[in-house]
């Protein structure tokens, strides 16, 4: 299939990109990795009148760690994280996510920020971003704002990024000491969207109780969801089989997936629980907790 005609503008600077978006408003789409947009255009489901290509803005192709956050620029490809030395030690949840998004070739073009902006209900990055308490930096004509990921994910395929705006970077707080995380995904095969997915991050206190956690599930509603109840259950609790089971059940309860070719509502709800349980177990075992199986 072949896309419908459109006007193409390759932005030479961020200001130029913003000006173009301001000019064309809702008729324009930003072209970054294009791995969701271009197939949609080939089927003529997406038919933007204007594409604003930001692939020349090398200044946005960064992944850098500064004052307590890992900042991922709008043009950083999934593969850039995947290949980043020591990411697995410093940001395990991100490293595990970066290895299972789409397929390895798509990851060499697809971007982390682009995935968040596309906000497919079954996408991967939104789940990890929720569990990791990420923030998204959005810039428009009216200036720059920083949006908590929970507010960024508005509805399926809808985010806080307005017409004329660009999401510039996503910021993942550096995990505190005695913290580990895990991303778990069930997919029918490599390249598929998640049938179910879960991200969990736990921090242990000196006394071995759980000081804090971030837990989220994907393919479980219009957007990825934070399992706040599970986070509360774990707060201050001893890391036990029982605590994990309770957190997993909270995820089962919260999950509100749509049935599709990937599975029934019943199956997906149960998988949300199973995966939250597995993510927590993996994280806690890495932190040296035993007797969880």
């Amino acid at each position: 299939m072949f896309p419908a005609p459109f006007d193409y503008h390759c932005a030479g600077s961020l200001d130029e990109a913003l000006a173009l978006l301001a000019r064309y408003g809702g008729d324009a789409r930003v072209l970054a990795g294009g791995q969701s947009l271009i197939p949609a255009m080939r089927f003529r489901l997406a038919r933007p009148a204007v594409l604003v290509d930001i692939n020349r803005l090398d200044e946005l192709a960064y992944v850098r760690e500064t004052d307590g956050v890992l900042a991922v620029g709008a043009l950083a490809r999934d593969a850039a994280l995947e290949r980043m030395p020591r990411l697995a030690e410093a940001y395990p949840m991100l490293a595990q996510t970066s290895a299972v998004v789409a397929d390895p070739v798509v990851r060499q073009s697809g971007t982390v920020v682009g995935s968040l902006c596309h906000n497919d209900p079954a996408g991967d990055w939104a789940v990890t971003a929720l569990a990791g308490r990420a923030q998204v930096v959005v810039r428009g004509a009216s200036g720059t704002r920083t949006v908590a990921i929970d507010d960024f994910l508005v509805d399926s395929f809808a985010t806080a990024v307005g017409d004329g705006e660009i999401a510039l970077e996503v910021r993942f707080p550096t995990p505190p000491p005695r913290t580990w995380g895990s991303y778990q995904k069930i997919e029918r095969k490599v390249g598929d969207f998640a049938t179910a997915s879960a991200a969990a991050r736990v921090t242990l206190a000196e006394d071995g109780t759980i000081a804090g956690s971030g837990i989220a599930i994907g393919a479980a509603g219009p957007t990825a969801r934070r399992v706040a109840e599970a986070e509360q259950i774990l707060h201050g609790a001893k890391p036990t089989k029982e605590a994990i089971r309770a957190a997993a059940d909270a995820a089962r309860k919260l999950a509100d997936p749509a049935a599709d070719t990937r599975g029934s509502v019943e199956f997906k709800k149960d998988m949300a629980g199973v995966l939250v349980g597995r993510a927590l177990t993996a994280a806690l075992e890495h932190l040296g907790v035993e007797g969880l199986r």
Binding site: M1, F2, A4, R44, D103, I186, R188, K189, V190, G191, D192, T195, T261, G263, S264, F267, D270, M271, V274
Partner: protein, 785 residues
């Protein structure tokens, strides 16, 4: 006796792991596939498809489409009717099918109109704007519902019923009696889901009507170029000499490129009407929604046995879903293909099988997807049945099979359903498989795991195929007998050109065909060029599918070579100044009997054939042979799968898979292994993920590669292979064909393994594909039960 062929001398071409001669061009992007062909002034065709599975076509408005810049023409069913091309006969000629919808759409995505334009993009722009008004009708998507005839789908047919045909073979009364008398009895409905070959290269055509010569050249993704030319001639009335079909390099066929599709006909008609070349290359969605699907058999399998585990009778009753037209690709006299192979490798005293086929509002097809006609369905049915019987008897499934195999001294073995199996040694092959995989240890490990509540399974499939259609007294397609052919010309310097009626789609004929001829002629296979696929130059043959190439054309090549050898013997006698009877062919030379040093090579003979021919002999050195096989060949194998099941998520991990194949004489072990790896991977895909599913309102749910799941290098297991060699007694070199065995034999091995894993939960059968959810549900229901 099972032996492995070892090369006897460096000259020995047969049995060598010779690297493929076709590869250098593929490796450098120099292959020439259909879409690589571009002709001056060529136009592009895009098709318009019905979103409805069943609807009246009220009207089609071309205006907006014709107004699109670059659009040259818009064709509808009515336009084709004017040229007598609204309908074409189906594969075996028992039914006809619409090219473009005439009055009605009978399945979702059926072709409604064709837009011809100066670019691919413009053609799609135009197709978007063809305004079709539909009046939706209730769809019938379930063959069991179609059977009730509440809605008649094909009012164009004389018989106002959705029933297409009834077919049966065997002894009904005797079988029913034996089943009733059996100590032990199993019965289960086993469904082989609708799936699709989905070769990576889509189907396509470049049709080029040359006004000056009046000749229509069709570059076509065709597994059977000669058959296609004859069909086009019969349908259009264009004399066969005025039609030239060229099948270029093909990016995988697997049966998908055997039938004739709407796009071909519309492009050809457009080229004839417009007098310029027209190209159509289908989209992946068109490939999956419109072109030949496979399987969709619902089989009730019934086996009777004595309490000590001897099988006594087999009955299989099948409902077949053929979709909107009866376009199943089967030989004329075999509406259900070779389904009679359903008694498999086992010595049943009596058997009976019957089948009824129905129309539904689904895409037409029923092609031989990487298998001989309907042999995959049959093998799956019997191998699942034997597994269930073993469970019921409390017997080890390997033991049950060893108890019931046809014994090697019984060959040639007449099966109760009418085949005569050529050769086999089933016991040796299965025992070798059990040893190689360490069956005993695996069963021990399984027992320990079960004690711990873990789910591990071992699955066996010991299938027998019937391939190589086939003997002309039984096999034809639209009347054309299913022989095949070869033509060999040895050049003066001892190199040669070999042409065959088959058409490689990745099987490596350019290499293996050269190996056969080289072996027979004592020439260097590197100096034998192989050509296929051009109807102007290739001898007539019915093409490559159903594992028929080696049994038919492979045999023809050996026979043509031997014809040449006989001619060459005369020349050799002349050169050796010996009587012809004193000249023997040994160690790839002509020698004077008793005086081995007195010899000439084929090269020397070839040179003489052109420069110094024997008196009163025809100069030159070439031969043609049309081979009509005396029987089918019956390749077989013993496959073992080992799986672990995660009961929490339903995930099945295929830990090991061992395939032992016996395809008779092996031409090129490297190519054979490659074929087996590929076939096993497709079997794996069908067992666990591949399905063309329609929802209750007739929507196709698997219309592209995001939903029709092809396993990647990560999901695909590591394959272990080995072989036994039991040559075919009636094939000139003893070869049987192998390309499809792994796809025929493996699905049952995978499913049997998973069912074995779930046995402690009391699960006896699940239909493919074995998705996580299906397995998860089975585990959970067992837990709550």
């Amino acid at each position: 006796m099972s032996t492995t062929i070892e090369p006897e001398s460096e000259k020995h071409a047969l049995g060598q792991r010779m690297k493929r001669k076709e590869d250098p061009r593929f490796l450098q992007g120099r292959g020439r596939y259909l879409d690589d062909i571009s002709l001056p002034g060529m136009l592009y065709l895009a098709l318009v498809h019905s979103p409805y599975p069943h609807a009246k076509i009220v009207k089609i408005d071309k205006t907006a489409a014709l107004a699109v810049d670059g659009v040259v023409a818009v064709l509808t069913g009515e336009d084709l009717a004017a040229h007598g091309l609204a309908w074409i006969p189906t594969f075996h000629g028992y039914d006809k099918q619409m090219v473009l919808c005439v009055g009605k759409a009978l399945y979702q995505y059926q072709e409604v109109a064709g837009v011809i334009a100066t670019s691919r993009e413009a053609a799609v722009d135009g197709a978007e704007l063809v305004d079709v008004e539909y009046e939706p009708l209730d769809p019938v998507v379930d063959p069991f519902q179609a059977r009730e005839d509440k809605t008649i789908l094909r009012d164009d047919r004389e018989n106002k019923t959705n029933h297409i045909y009834h077919w049966e073979v065997g002894k009904r009364a005797e079988t029913d009696a034996a089943l009733a008398a059996a100590d032990v009895h199993v019965k289960e409905r086993v469904t082989f889901q609708r799936c699709h070959p989905a070769p990576l290269e889509p189907c396509g055509i470049v049709a080029d009507m040359n006004g000056a010569t009046g000749r229509l050249t069709l570059y076509l993704t065709s597994q059977a170029p000669h058959a296609h030319r004859t069909v086009v001639s019969l349908v259009t009335g264009i004399p066969e000499d005025k039609i030239h079909v060229v099948s270029p390099d093909i990016g995988g066929g697997f049966g998908n490129k055997v039938p004739v599709y709407a796009g071909y006909v519309v492009a050809a008609a457009a080229s004839v009407v417009l007098g310029v070349p027209v190209k159509w290359v289908e989209t992946r969605t068109e490939n999956l929604t419109c072109t030949g699907f496979a399987r969709d058999y619902h089989m009730d399998v019934e086996i009777g046995a004595t309490k000590d585990g001897r099988v006594t009778a087999l009955k299989v009753t099948t409902v077949a879903d053929h979709g909107a037209f009866d376009a199943a690709a089967d030989p004329t006299k075999y509406p259900a293909g070779l389904f009679g192979i359903v008694t498999g490798s086992y010595d049943f005293a009596t058997a009976f099988t019957e089948l009824d086929a129905y129309f539904t509002n689904k895409a037409p097809g029923g092609i031989a997807y990487r298998c001989s006609f309907r042999v995959t369905e049959a093998s799956f049915a019997i191998e699942r049945g034997m597994e269930m019987l073993a469970r019921k008897l409390g017997l080890d499934p390997a033991e049950l099979r060893l108890k019931n195999f046809v014994r090697k001294e019984q060959f040639p073995y007449p099966s109760p359903l009418g085949f005569v199996y050529d050769s086999g040694d089933y016991h040796t092959t299965l025992r070798k498989a059990l040893d190689l995989i360490g069956y005993e240890e695996l069963r021990k490990e399984q027992a320990e795991k079960r004690a711990r509540g873990e789910l591990m399974g071992i699955g066996i499939s010991t299938f027998t195929e019937a391939v190589g259609a086939g003997p002309s007294k039984h096999f034809d397609i639209m009347g054309i007998k299913m022989f095949d052919s070869a033509e060999i010309r040895v050049h003066p310097t001892g190199s040669a050109i070999l042409r065959a009626g088959t058409k490689s789609q990745g099987q490596g004929h350019e290499t293996t065909w050269a190996q056969i001829a080289a072996e027979e002629l004592g020439l260097d296979p590197q100096n034998i060029i192989v050509e296929e696929g051009d109807t102007d130059t290739a001898p007539y043959g019915l093409g490559t599918y159903a594992s028929r190439s080696t049994p038919t054309a492979g045999a023809a090549i050996a026979m043509a070579s031997r014809k040449i050898r006989e001619r060459a013997r005369k020349i050799a006698a002349h050169l050796l100044e010996a009587a012809e009877d004193d000249v023997e062919w040994a160690d790839y030379k002509f020698r004077v009997k008793g005086v081995p040093e007195n010899a000439v090579t084929m090269q020397e003979v070839a040179f003489a054939a052109y420069t110094n021919p024997a008196p009163n002999t025809e100069p030159g050195l070439e031969a043609t042979f049309y081979y009509d096989p005396p029987n089918l060949t019956f390749p077989y194998g013993a496959y073992l799968a080992v799986v672990d099941v995660d009961r929490e998520t339903g995930f099945v991990k295929v830990r090991r898979f061992l395939a032992i194949d016996d395809c008779g004489t092996v031409i090129n072990p490297m190519v054979v292994e490659g074929q087996i790896h590929g076939g096993l991977t497709e079997g794996f895909a069908i067992a666990f993920m591949q399905e063309i599913r329609y929802d209750e309102s007739g929507n196709n749910l698997n219309t592209n590669f995001t939903e029709y799941l092809v396993p990647t290098s990560l999901e695909t297991p590591h394959w272990e292979t080995a072989s036994t060699v039991t040559p075919s007694p009636h094939h000139p070199i003893g070869a049987k064909g192998v390309g499809e065995s792994p796809n025929v034999g493996s699905p049952a091995a995978f499913v049997n393994a998973v069912m074995d894993a779930l046995a402690p939960l009391g699960v006896t059968h699940l239909d493919m594909p074995l998705t996580r959810e299906k397995v998860w549900r089975a585990c959970r229901e067992a837990a709550t039960a």
